[in-house]
Symmetry: C2
Subunit: 490 residues, 2 copies
């Protein structure tokens, strides 16, 4: 371990102890100050992001706004206090198993969190993104391992963020930045780091998850590893609104040059959809730059492999070229394959293709989508169902709920709403844990419950006290209730 890694970890540990003394209102205020600082520095940050990532200005402007809104949402989450899951069981001399003590529990911060930033969301899943916001909201210091795709933006965002948190009264070291792959790995092994989050590839995520699990003291590792996001369209849906479907598909596949973990990768639809012309017409003609040469190279090879697989034909050929700097420039590619060719060798087409390409799987009349989803897929961020009134999609929806974190209807999986109910995560390999990295439930990843038994009021955390100074929700089990347990069920 290099000295600097140890110093950063020690600083985070000291910050964790100091944060324990910071009232939630101050922590909430600090998140708002952080959000406002991002907005105040928007022009500089967006210019840096455009230069380093090649993402379009409108997209980055929207993403920065999303990032600021997300910090404000978590400020609200802190003050609401429901995430503390406070439970109070009053002492009960008549308890079914003999006299019971007063027991109270609530969530407390888990300790320093290491956040591996993503390359495809330089704001929303990077230094000031959802993992950082949710870990800070829970009361933990955060160490961000910068993504190498936008180093200057990462440094500047960390400066802006650390200054804002400092100005708002949070301890020094509440937000720190480290750079370098070896440094990230060394930090993941540091005993003072208590949880880690990651957004990126399955390969890298698995490597890091294995490191976290193999530590002398294992820690939770929350990896968001991407997905194929299958879409299933019924014949009635296509008959009812085929052109709208084609336009939505083209927009969803092409947005951000297809570099989104929620991009629809496989679209199951009737073989006689007849939408080739509409899709081709809807696909954007303007080239977009990919994030970096490595991603462009990966896309180039994956696209070639898909297009050369048995039975695959081009609907909208799209384009991909590499410039003198190694940067890739692309327009969306829409391919199609008959289910009869796909089904015998699904592995050739099932893996995620990170870029603006999707495959239409043309399915004969009477195809059982639920069976296909159940048999071919393992864990997905999303499953989308396009249906019309009168379609019975019960079996498909139930299967989708077993295979994905989000099931959406008559829409496209890109464009993740940052709201309390959002679930952005699914069974392995979509995520390592099934947790969510978007929405207020993301905070659950960075807390753990502590119970206090027969504690004098002055030794209790304020949220667990009878006078409830923070006015958080408290679930109180009164004395005497145990006698009736189970009676409601009879």
């Amino acid at each position: 371990m290099t000295t600097s890694i140890d110093t950063v970890a020690q600083t985070a540990d000291a910050a964790a102890r100091a944060l324990a003394d910071v009232p939630p209102a101050v922590r909430a205020k600090a998140l708002v100050v952080f959000a406002d600082a991002l907005t105040a520095n928007a022009e500089e940050l967006i210019a840096l992001a455009m230069e380093e990532t090649g993402l379009a200005e409108a997209r980055l402007r929207g993403e920065l706004k999303r990032t600021a809104v997300q910090l404000r949402l978590f400020a609200d989450t802190i003050l609401d206090g429901a995430y503390l899951d406070v439970r109070i069981d009053r002492a009960d001399p008549e308890f079914a198993l003999g006299p019971r003590p007063d027991v109270r529990s609530g969530n407390e911060p888990i300790g320093p969190v290491l956040n591996f930033a993503a390359g495809n969301f330089p704001f929303a899943f990077s230094v000031a993104g959802g993992d950082t916001a949710s870990a800070l909201a829970a009361g933990n210091p955060v160490i961000v391992k910068a993504h190498p795709g936008h180093p200057r933006l990462s440094r500047r965002t960390a400066e802006v963020g650390a200054a804002a948190l400092d100005a708002a009264g949070l301890p020094a070291g509440t937000l720190q930045l480290i750079e370098g792959q070896d440094e990230g790995t060394a930090m993941l092994k540091h005993p003072l780091v208590k949880a880690a989050s990651f957004t990126g590839s399955l390969r890298a995520g698995r490597l890091l998850a294995d490191i976290a699990a193999a530590r002398p003291a294992p820690i939770p590792f929350y990896g968001e590893l991407g997905s194929v996001n299958p879409v299933f369209a019924t014949p009635a849906a296509i008959a009812e609104r085929g052109p709208e479907f084609a336009a939505g598909l083209a927009a969803s596949v092409g947005g951000s040059a297809g570099q989104l973990c929620t991009k629809p990768g496989l679209v199951f639809l009737p073989a006689d959809h007849g939408l080739d012309k509409e899709i081709t017409a809807a696909v954007a003609a303007e080239e977009q730059r990919m994030l970096d040469p490595r991603i462009a190279d990966g896309y180039l090879h994956r696209r070639e492999a898909i297009l050369s697989a048995a039975g695959v034909r081009l609907v909208a050929p799209g384009s991909v070229r590499v410039d003198e700097d190694g940067q890739g420039w692309v327009t969306p590619t829409i391919a199609a394959v008959p289910l009869a060719d796909f089904r015998p060798h699904p592995d050739a087409l099932l893996g995620e293709c990170f870029g603006p390409l999707t495959i239409l799987v043309e399915s004969p009349e009477g195809t059982d989508y639920a069976e296909l989803l159940d048999t071919l897929f393992e864990g997905e961020l999303t499953v989308a169902v396009h249906r019309a009134d009168g379609d019975d999609v019960t079996a498909l929806v139930r299967t989708a709920a077993r295979r994905a974190g989000r099931v959406l209807f008559d829409g496209w999986p890109t464009g993740v709403a940052v709201t309390p109910a959002m679930q952005h995560g699914g069974p392995w390999p979509a995520t390592t844990s099934g947790g969510t990295s978007v929405g207020t439930a993301a905070i659950k990843r960075f807390v753990r419950a502590v119970a206090y038994q027969n504690a004098p009021a002055e030794a209790l955390p304020p949220a667990l006290r009878d006078d409830n100074p923070w006015q958080v929700p408290q679930a109180v089990a009164p004395a005497g209730e145990s006698a009736a347990w189970g009676d409601r069920a009879i």
Copy 2:
């Protein structure tokens, strides 16, 4: 993989799918029927348990009652529905980041759960125990790997349980039993098993946790691995109620022949406590049988090592003898060591000693307990604080909350209350996850959230519908609220 393991897993998978159609009221009723069946068969089950484990009748009678009460508590938990964490974000055309869809999320069952039963709680942490109850309550089928210490009891409990669940209308295969170490390991690797729980030693738990993490598709592994459960007594507490302290200590160390994960293993108290006579008098003179010859052998060796460590003296010598069947018979041993001898070589005395032995660490005036706890301990199920009015234990309590899952005052960690607020779990190595295996929060381990976006009402799980037929708590975020996010904090 042997055929029978695969058959059991396939049966569990089929049961998981069928359970999805079972209304919660039927699931709750089934848990009550299970509880009542345990009670109806109590005489037979207790007789089997006494024979196989050597535990005392009174203890087993209380444990069986606890196990039945626990099943009834989880029946209540299902009907209450708070564990579903239902969130409803209504569609909002004025959302801060542009029009947002209707998004609703709630917890759903994770899938078949494998439960490695414990040896020291043949009811409460075995076939019908807390891990089984919480996994069933969440709507998952359970495969129990029987503990080899009580095979006949395990089989009989599984028969009683499966018959009760069947009679209550749950699918076949909702509760299954497997036996054998290799079979347990093979099942842990089976792709249809979606989560596992375990109560036992750090060594075995780590082995299994590593297997779960190394699977092609890793699964959550909830191991409860035991603890030293340090106790800290202030000079004022000992001065105020020394004899009561001595009696409580003796009872807590000796109960169930010390074979409890919450047994206090290290007791820090003032060097001038003067309680040798009271402790010796309070220690039980009657021999208790240990669970099995392997545990007796482990205790014998660990006890010898502790008693031969530098500076250790005997307060109450206790006894240990092995009979012709290899069974160990014990009375409690209370040792003592000056802090000055303990501190330089803490590893010799820090590890858990599974049996009726505890070590008094005699600490000079002015000893900083918070610093000791912070420096020497990693993760514990419990930390107990004995104090008197006027003692400032703030720093000690705060440190205890970082190191343990339960902080208790003026009492002993054995005797875990089965109530909604109980937290039985702590940071590694007390548990693998920080989760709890006792109390209603244990159900959280066996669910995962699924979000539905723009779903027609008929495609939604009942708990997420506006008409809320199950009458569960729904956290509703109305349209328009995002404009005010963060404003409360300013």
